[in-house]
C-alpha cells in the first residue's frame, strides 16, 4: 500500500466519519447482543460449577426411609466410585418466633428444615483444611458461624416467609403433631448467621415432610442437637466428579454409575437394619400402646373434672344473680328476725319488770303478815307434837278396843273344829296382855271372861272418847299454827319468786345487749358474705366467656399431647410396618431444589441465544453490509481515477477492505467486550432474584467471539469487496464517468388507471421512486421491519411475563377469588368445616365462599419422563369452583365444569405431559413409586404453576378417601373491590382481623399478597427484556439514520436539481422523505406482523416449566414500537433536513460523479 493510498483511506474515513461510526456502532451493538446472550448461559453454568467446587457440593444424596446406621455409612463408603461420605441428620418443623406462628405468603404455616452442622468439620474448614468429607459448605452472607449449641445459621434467600429473619432472632421449632423432643435436644435457637447453602441454588426450597408439604426455609444447627441414634441421610461425593462441569454429560454418566452402585448395596443394608429395628422397636410399641391407653384414660378423667368446673362456673354465672338475691333476702330476713327478737326480748323484759313489781308487792304483804307471828313455827311444832300424842292415844284406845272386840267375837262364837283350849292358847299367844285372863279362863269361865271383856270394852270406849276430844282440841291449835306457818312459807316463796323475777329481768336486759351485739356482728358477717358472693358472681360472669375457651385449650392441649403420643406410636408402628418396603432413595444433584431450574434457566438462555441475538446480529450485519456497499458505490469516480493512475484493482480494493475492516473490527471488539463483561452481568442481575449463587464468573469465550467477529467482518468486508469488484472490472474511463442513472420504469400501479390517476403528482413520484430501486426498498423495509420486530418482541417478552400474573390473578383472570382462608384443624378448633363456611358466607362482606382441598404432588404422564410439581384442588361443591377459578380452554373458549368423568388439568401441564382430553395423567405419592392415575376431561387456561381440578366424587374414587377441606376460598363483595386502594386495604385487613378472631380460622391470605410475591420473582426478568428493547431501539436509531443518509447520498443530484428548479426547503424535504415515510410505514407494518410469530417462537423457547408466558403482545407494545420508529424517523428527518438545506447545487451538479 502506498503512502498516498493510506492517506486516502484516512481521509475517506474522516470524510465519511458518520458512515464509519455507524458501521462501527452497529457492529458493536450486534456483537454485544450476540456474544452477550451467547455467553450468558455458559457463564451461568461456570458460575455454578465454581460455586459447587468451592462449597464442595455433594454429588449424591442417600436418604433411607428408615434412617441410616453407622454400619450403613461404612457400607456406602466402601462402594466403588465413592470418594467420601458425610452422614447427616435433619428434622422438619414449624417455625415460631416470639411465640407466634410464622406464616408463608400463601398463608400456610411456615416450615423449616433443621440440618446438622458438624462443628468439628466446620472448625477444620475454617482453619483451612479442605476435607473432602465436609460437603455442602455454606456461604456466610452475614454474621458468624455458630459457637454454641443453641445457635443456628439461617437461610438467606427465603422469599416465601412473611417474617424477615435477622441475626439475634430467637426461633422456636415446633413439631407438626409430633414430639420434636424425639429428634432434637432443644427447640429454641438463636440466629447468629445468615447463609446460602449450595444445596439450594435457587429460592425454591422443595418439599417438607410436614405441614402443607412445602418447605419454607432451612437452618443449620450444631449436629449435637440431634438426639436420633440414626442418620437421616448421607451425602456422597464421587471421585473425580469435579473434573467435569456439573452440567456435562460425562458428569451425569459418572454419577449415574455410582448411584447404581450404591443402590446395589442397599438391599443387604436394609435387611440388616430392618432386623435391628424390629428387635428394638416392636416391644417398645407394645409397651407404648399400654402407656397410651393409661394416659388417655387419665386425660379423659381430668377433662371430665374440668368440664364439671366449667359447668359450675357457667351455672354460677347464670344463676349467681338469683343466688345473690336469695342471699340478700336471707340476709334481710335474718336481720329483721334478729331485730324482732330483740324487740320481743325488750317487751318480755318489760313484762318481767311488771311481774317483778307485782311479786315485790306480794312479798311485802307476805312479810307484813309473817312478822305478826314470830313463834308460829315453834307453836306449830308443839301443836303438832300434841296432836300426834292425841292421835296416838286415839289409836291406842281404838286398838285395844279393837282387840277386845275381836276376843269377844271369838269367844262368843267359838269355832267348832277347835277346842276352846286351843283357841285360848292361840289367843293368849296372840294377845299377851290378856294372857292372865285367858289362861285362867277355861271353857267354863268364858262367860266371865266375856263380862270382864265387855266391861273393858265400855271403859275402852270411854277412854277413846276422851282421847278423841283431846285430839280435836289439839287439832284446832295445830291448824291455827299451821295457818301461821303457811304465811311464813308464802313469804319465802314470794322472796324466791321475787329473786327469780329479778334474775329473769337481769337476764332479759343482758339478752337484749347481747342480741344487739350479735345483730351487729351478724350484719357485718352477712355483708361480708354478700360481698364475696358478688365478687364470685362477677368473676363467674367474667370467666364464663373464656371458660369454654380455656377448657377448649386444655382439651386441645390434652388432645395434642395424646395426638403426639399417638403420632409417636403410629410412627413407630408405621416404621415397623414399613420395614418390608424400606428403601434408599439415591438421588443426584438434579433432585436438589432449584438445581434443575438453574440448569434449565441456563439452557433457556441458550435457547434464547439461539434465535434472538442471531436475528439481531444479522440485521446489524445486513445494515453494515449495505452501508458498506453504498460507500463503495459512491466512490466510483475515485476508483476510476486511481485505476487510471495505474493502481491495480487489488490495491484499490484493499482500500475498501481496510475501511470495512477497521469499522467492523473496531466495532466488533467493543461489542465483544460489552457482550462478555457487561451483558451477562445485567442479565444475571435479573436472575439473581431467583438464584442464590455467588457473583457471576465472566469468561472470555473465544468461540463466540471468533464466530461473531468473523461473521461480522466477513459480511462487511465481502460486501465491500463485491461492490468494489463489480466496479473495478469496468475500465477506468467509464468509472470516471457518472454511472448511468438507473432506468425509470413504469410501476405496476400505473396500469391500475383509476388509482394512478387519483394520485397527485408528488405521490406518483414517490411511488416511482420507491419502486425504482428495489434493493434500497428491500434494505429499508427489512431494516425497519427488523428493528420494529426486535422492539416488539422485546416488549412482547415483557408483556408475556407481565401477562402471567395479569392473566392469572384478579378479575377477568384465571384465579378470580380474593382470599384464601386457611382453616384450623377441626380437631383443634372443634368447629366443623361446614360451620366455618356458613360463618364465612354469613359475613356481610363476603360475596361467596367454597371449601377447598389443596395438595401438592409431582405429576406427569407416561408420555413424558420428567415430572412437574402440580397441585390438586378439590372444591367441596363442584359447581361453585367456577366462581373462583376460571375453567376455560384458552384456544376454544370452551368453559368446563367439574364432572365425574375425569379431571381438569391446566394448559402447561397438559402440554408438558403431552396429554389430550381422554388421556391418563398421574400424580406420584411421597414414596416416589406409587402413581395415582386419573383421566383428563378438559384442559384449562392457566399461566402460573400447575393444577389438577377434580370433583369430590372423582377424588374419592381416585384416592379412596374423602378430601380434607383445609381452605375456604373467598370472594368479597364487588363494592369492596371497587373502593379506592387505601379504603379497600383497610376494609380487607379489618375483615382478616375479624375472621382470625375465630378459632377455626388460622390465617387469611389475600390474593394480592401472593401476587406481589409472585411479581417480585418475575420482576427480575424485566431487566432482560429492557436490555433487549434498549438494544433494539438503539439499533433502530442507527438503522434509520443510516438509511436516511444513504437515501440522501444516492439522490443528491435529484436534490440539487429540484433545488435549482426553485423547490422550497420543505418541498425538498417532503420530496425526499415522502418516500421514506412510506417505506418506514411499510417496514413498520411488516415488522409488526413478523413480530407475532417471532415472539411466539422466542417465548416458547424461553419459557420455564412452572409458568406459561402470555401468548399475545400488548397493543401498547405495538404502538410503542411503531411510535419509536416513527419518532426516530421524524428525528432523523429533521436532522437530515439540515443536511438537505446545505446541499450545494453548484458543486453537486458540477461534479460529474
Amino acid at each position: 500500500m502506498t503512502k498516498a493510498l493510506f492517506k486516502d483511506i484516512v481521509r475517506s474515513i474522516w470524510r465519511t466519519k458518520n458512515r464509519f461510526i455507524t458501521i462501527f456502532l452497529i457492529a458493536a451493538l450486534g456483537l454485544a447482543v450476540f456474544s452477550g446472550i451467547k455467553a450468558t448461559a455458559p457463564d451461568l453454568k461456570d458460575t455454578a460449577d465454581n460455586y459447587f467446587l468451592k462449597q464442595n457440593l455433594m454429588d449424591i444424596n442417600v436418604i433411607s426411609t428408615i434412617g441410616l446406621s453407622e454400619n450403613d455409612i461404612d457400607n456406602i463408603g466402601k462402594v466403588s466410585g465413592v470418594q467420601a461420605v458425610m452422614p447427616a441428620k435433619f428434622a422438619d418443623a414449624f417455625l415460631e418466633i416470639d411465640g407466634k406462628k410464622v406464616i408463608d405468603v400463601e398463608g400456610a404455616q411456615y416450615s423449616c428444615r433443621a440440618m446438622s452442622l458438624d462443628m468439628d468439620m466446620l472448625k477444620q474448614w475454617q482453619d483451612g483444611v479442605n476435607d473432602a468429607e465436609f460437603m455442602n459448605r455454606v456461604r456466610l452472607v452475614e454474621g458468624v458461624y455458630p459457637k454454641n449449641e443453641d445457635e443456628c445459621l439461617i437461610d438467606h434467600s427465603d422469599i416465601t416467609s412473611t417474617h424477615r429473619f435477622k441475626i439475634g432472632d430467637i426461633i422456636n421449632l415446633v413439631g407438626d403433631h409430633e414430639n420434636l423432643g424425639n429428634k432434637l435436644k432443644r427447640s429454641e435457637y438463636k440466629i447468629v448467621g445468615i447463609v446460602n447453602s449450595p444445596l439450594y441454588v435457587s429460592v425454591e426450597r422443595g418439599n417438607a415432610l410436614i405441614g402443607s408439604g412445602k418447605l419454607g426455609n432451612y437452618i443449620y444447627i450444631p449436629a449435637t442437637n440431634f438426639v436420633m441414634d440414626y442418620y437421616t441421610n448421607a451425602f456422597v461425593s464421587v471421585a473425580g466428579a469435579f473434573s467435569y462441569s456439573a452440567f456435562s454429560k460425562q458428569y451425569k454418566a459418572d454419577i449415574a454409575e455410582v448411584v447404581e452402585n450404591i443402590e446395589a448395596v442397599s438391599e443387604k443394608a436394609l435387611q440388616e437394619r430392618s432386623a435391628d429395628l424390629w428387635l428394638e422397636y416392636s416391644p417398645k410399641v407394645v409397651k407404648g400402646e399400654e402407656e397410651y391407653a393409661a394416659k388417655k384414660l387419665e386425660a379423659e378423667e381430668k377433662l371430665a373434672e374440668a368440664r364439671q368446673q366449667v359447668k359450675e362456673v357457667k351455672y354460677y354465672a347464670e344463676h349467681g344473680e338469683e343466688e345473690l338475691a336469695a342471699k340478700k333476702a336471707e340476709y334481710e330476713a335474718s336481720l329483721s328476725q334478729a331485730q324482732r327478737e330483740i324487740y320481743s326480748g325488750k317487751s318480755q323484759y318489760n313484762a318481767g319488770l311488771a311481774e317483778y313489781n307485782k311479786k315485790l308487792a306480794e312479798y311485802n304483804a307476805a312479810k307484813a303478815m309473817a312478822d305478826k307471828y314470830p313463834n308460829a313455827r315453834e307453836d306449830y311444832k308443839k301443836a303438832g307434837e300434841e296432836l300426834d300424842k292425841a292421835k296416838a292415844d286415839i289409836d291406842r284406845a281404838e286398838r285395844s278396843l279393837g282387840r277386845i272386840q275381836k276376843l269377844l267375837d271369838q269367844l262368843k262364837n267359838p269355832d267348832s273344829s277347835e277346842t276352846i283350849n286351843t283357841i285360848l292358847v292361840n289367843l293368849a299367844k296372840e294377845y299377851p296382855e290378856y294372857k292372865d285372863i285367858l289362861e285362867h279362863t277355861g271353857a267354863e269361865t268364858i262367860p266371865n271372861a266375856i263380862v270382864t271383856l265387855e266391861v273393858a270394852t265400855i271403859t275402852g270406849e270411854a277412854q277413846l272418847n276422851v282421847a278423841k276430844s283431846a285430839y280435836d282440841q289439839n287439832k284446832l291449835a295445830y291448824d291455827l299454827a299451821g295457818e301461821q306457818i303457811k304465811s311464813l312459807d308464802k313469804l319465802k316463796d314470794a322472796e324466791v319468786q321475787l329473786a327469780e323475777a329479778k334474775a329473769k329481768l337481769q337476764a332479759g336486759s343482758s339478752d337484749i345487749a347481747i342480741g344487739e351485739i350479735t345483730l351487729d356482728m351478724k350484719q357485718m358477717e352477712l355483708q361480708y358474705e354478700l360481698a364475696i358472693a358478688e365478687e364470685k358472681l362477677a368473676q363467674a360472669k367474667a370467666n364464663v366467656a373464656t371458660v369454654d375457651k380455656q377448657y377448649a385449650q386444655a382439651e386441645a392441649d390434652a388432645l395434642l399431647q395424646l395426638q403426639n403420643a399417638r403420632y409417636d406410636l403410629d410412627t413407630g408402628r408405621k416404621m415397623l410396618d414399613s420395614l418390608d418396603t424400606a428403601m434408599w432413595h439415591v438421588e443426584n444433584r438434579e433432585s436438589l431444589p432449584g438445581n434443575l431450574e438453574y440448569e434449565r434457566s441456563a439452557d433457556n438462555m441458550d435457547a434464547f441465544a439461539a434465535v434472538f441475538p442471531v436475528f439481531f446480529f444479522f440485521i446489524a450485519a445486513a445494515v453494515c453490509l449495505s452501508t458498506m456497499t453504498r460507500m463503495v458505490k459512491e466512490e466510483r469516480t475515485q476508483m476510476g481515477t486511481l485505476k487510471a493512475l495505474g493502481y491495480s484493482s487489488q490495491v484499490i480494493a484493499i482500500k475498501y477492505l481496510v475501511y470495512a475492516f477497521l469499522a467492523s473490527a473496531l466495532g466488533s471488539v467493543l461489542g465483544i467486550y460489552l457482550g462478555f463483561y457487561w451483558f451477562p452481568r445485567v442479565i444475571y442481575e435479573a436472575y439473581s432474584i431467583m438464584f442464590t449463587t455467588p457473583d457471576l464468573v465472566l469468561v472470555f469465550r473465544w468461540k463466540y467471539a471468533l464466530i461473531g467477529f468473523f461473521v461480522m467482518l466477513l459480511s462487511v468486508m465481502s460486501a465491500a469487496l463485491l461492490a468494489a469488484r463489480k466496479d473495478l472490472m469496468t475500465d477506468a474511463a467509464r468509472l470516471m464517468r457518472p454511472v448511468a442513472p438507473k432506468k425509470g420504469k413504469r410501476v405496476f400501479l400505473e396500469k391500475v388507471g383509476f388509482v394512478w390517476k387519483r394520485l397527485n403528482f408528488d405521490s406518483k413520484v414517490t411511488v416511482r421512486n420507491m419502486m425504482r430501486n428495489k434493493r434500497r426498498l428491500a434494505m429499508t423495509v427489512i431494516g425497519i421491519a427488523g428493528c420494529t420486530s426486535l422492539i416488539v418482541v422485546g416488549m412482547g417478552i415483557d408483556d408475556s411475563i407481565t401477562a402471567i400474573s395479569a392473566n392469572q390473578f384478579g378479575e377477568n383472570a384465571v384465579m378470580t377469588y380474593d382470599a384464601q382462608v386457611v382453616l384450623n384443624d377441626k380437631l383443634v378448633s372443634g368447629i366443623s368445616e361446614e360451620e366455618s363456611l356458613k360463618a364465612l358466607e354469613s359475613d356481610a362482606r363476603v360475596d361467596t365462599a367454597v371449601l377447598t382441598n389443596m395438595q401438592s404432588f409431582k405429576g406427569g404422564s407416561v408420555r413424558e419422563e420428567e415430572l412437574l410439581p402440580v397441585s390438586i384442588i378439590v372444591p367441596q361443591e363442584s359447581d361453585k369452583l367456577s366462581n373462583f377459578i376460571s375453567l376455560k380452554n384458552r384456544e376454544t373458549g370452551e368453559v368446563f365444569k367439574l364432572g365425574d368423568e375425569g379431571v381438569l388439568v391446566t394448559e402447561k401441564f397438559a402440554e408438558h405431559s403431552k396429554s389430550k382430553v381422554g388421556d391418563k395423567v398421574f400424580v406420584q405419592l411421597d414414596d416416589k413409586t406409587t402413581q395415582i392415575e386419573m383421566t383428563v376431561a378438559g384442559i384449562v387456561e392457566n399461566y402460573a404453576f400447575h393444577y389438577i381440578y377434580m370433583s369430590e366424587a372423582v377424588y374419592e374414587s381416585t384416592f379412596g378417601s374423602l378430601p380434607v377441606y383445609s381452605f375456604a376460598t373467598v370472594k368479597l363483595l364487588p363494592n369492596i373491590n371497587a373502593m379506592d386502594a387505601a379504603q379497600r386495604d383497610s376494609e380487607r385487613s379489618k375483615l382478616a382481623a375479624d375472621l382470625m378472631k375465630r378459632d377455626d380460622v388460622s390465617v387469611v391470605v389475600y390474593m394480592e399478597q401472593a401476587v406481589d410475591a409472585f411479581n417480585g420473582v418475575l420482576s427480575g426478568l424485566d431487566t432482560l427484556t429492557r436490555v433487549f428493547v434498549v438494544g433494539s431501539v438503539i439499533l433502530a436509531l442507527l438503522v434509520l439514520y443510516n438509511l436516511a443518509n444513504i437515501n440522501i447520498n444516492e439522490r443528491i443530484r435529484d436534490i440539487a436539481s429540484i433545488k435549482v428548479l426553485g423547490f422550497y426547503d420543505r418541498e425538498v424535504v417532503s420530496y425526499i422523505f415522502k418516500e421514506s415515510i412510506y417505506l418506514t410505514l411499510i417496514g413498520i407494518a411488516f415488522g409488526l406482523l413478523a413480530a407475532i410469530p417471532l415472539h411466539l417462537f422466542v417465548i416458547k423457547i424461553a419459557e420455564v416449566n412452572i409458568l406459561m408466558y402470555g401468548r399475545s403482545i400488548d397493543l401498547s407494545s405495538y404502538i410503542f414500537a411503531a411510535g419509536v420508529i416513527i419518532v426516530f424517523s421524524v428525528l432523523v428527518a429533521v436532522l437530515m433536513s439540515f443536511k438537505l438545506k446545505k446541499v450545494d447545487m453548484v458543486e453537486t451538479l458540477k461534479v460529474v460523479e
Partner: protein, 233 residues
C-alpha cells in the same frame, strides 16, 4: 437601465492559503429579450457568473440586478422564489430526474411555478410530442436536452440560463438545441444567456460576453445576428 446588470461582481474561493477569484470585478449588462452568449476558456468564470445570475450562488461583492431588482441582496428564501418564478436552467448533463417521464420532469417544474405554461404543449413545441411518456433513459441526449429546455421554458421564466447546453451533444443536435433556445428568445421574449466555449456560436447572439480569468474581456453587440442554420463549425 438594462434588464440584467452586473456591477463589479466578485466571487472568491479560499483554497487553503490562496484565494482564487472566480469572478473578479465582472461588469456587464444584458437587455431584455436578448440572446446572449458568454464565451471564454475553462476557469474563466463563465459558470460562476451564470450561477450567481441564476440565484444558485451568491457573489462576495458587487451588485447584480435583474429587471431592476437587486438579487445580490436576496436572502435564501427570496432566492428560491426567484429561481422558482424567474429563472430557467439548462445544464450540460440535463439533470433530469431519471424516474420521471419527460412530461413529469416538466411537470415537476410547472407545478411549482405561478405562471407556468402547459407542460405538454411545451414538450410538443420542442418536438417531443411523441415522447411525452418516455423516461430519460429511453431518450437520446438531444431529446433529453430538449426535455431539459422544455422544463426550463415551461416555467415561463424571464431568464433562461444555459450552461454548455450542447457540450454533450453532436453537431446537428447541438444546432437544433441552439435553435430552440434562440426561438425561446425570439418568440417568448425570454432573455437567454448561453455559456459556451464554442466561439462559432457567437454570431447568432445579440450580445457576446467574452471572459478570461474572471474578468469580462470584451462585450460584442451583433446588430445583425446570423440564424443558427447558417452557422457552421
Amino acid at each position: 437601465m438594462s434588464f440584467i446588470e452586473f456591477d463589479s461582481v466578485y466571487k472568491r474561493y479560499k483554497m487553503g492559503e490562496i484565494t482564487i477569484a472566480a469572478a473578479d470585478g465582472v461588469t456587464f449588462e444584458v437587455e431584455e429579450g436578448e440572446f446572449c452568449v458568454i464565451t471564454g476558456p475553462s476557469g474563466s468564470g463563465k459558470s460562476t457568473i451564470l450561477n450567481i445570475l441564476g440565484g444558485m450562488d451568491s457573489a462576495n461583492d458587487g451588485k447584480v440586478r435583474v429587471g431592476g431588482d437587486l438579487i445580490s441582496d436576496y436572502d435564501r428564501k427570496k432566492l428560491i422564489e426567484y429561481r422558482r418564478d424567474d429563472v430557467g436552467f439548462v445544464f450540460q448533463f440535463y439533470n433530469l430526474i431519471p424516474n420521471l417521464t419527460a412530461l413529469e420532469n416538466v411537470e415537476l417544474a410547472t407545478q411549482i411555478s405561478k405562471k407556468a405554461l402547459d407542460a405538454q404543449k411545451v414538450l410538443e413545441r420542442v418536438g417531443l410530442a411523441e415522447r411525452l411518456n418516455s423516461f430519460p433513459s429511453q431518450l437520446s441526449g438531444g431529446e433529453q436536452q430538449r426535455v431539459s429546455i422544455a422544463r426550463a421554458i415551461a416555467k415561463n421564466p424571464k431568464l433562461l440560463l444555459c450552461d454548455e447546453p450542447t457540450g454533450a451533444l453532436d453537431y446537428n443536435t447541438g444546432k437544433q438545441i441552439l435553435n430552440l433556445l434562440h426561438e425561446a428568445s425570439r418568440e417568448a421574449g425570454m432573455t437567454v444567456l448561453v455559456i459556451t466555449h464554442n466561439l462559432a456560436v457567437a454570431p447568432m447572439a445579440d450580445r457576446v460576453v467574452a471572459m478570461r480569468s474572471g474578468k469580462v474581456q470584451k462585450i460584442t453587440l451583433n446588430e445583425e445576428p446570423v440564424p443558427v442554420e447558417r452557422i457552421e463549425w
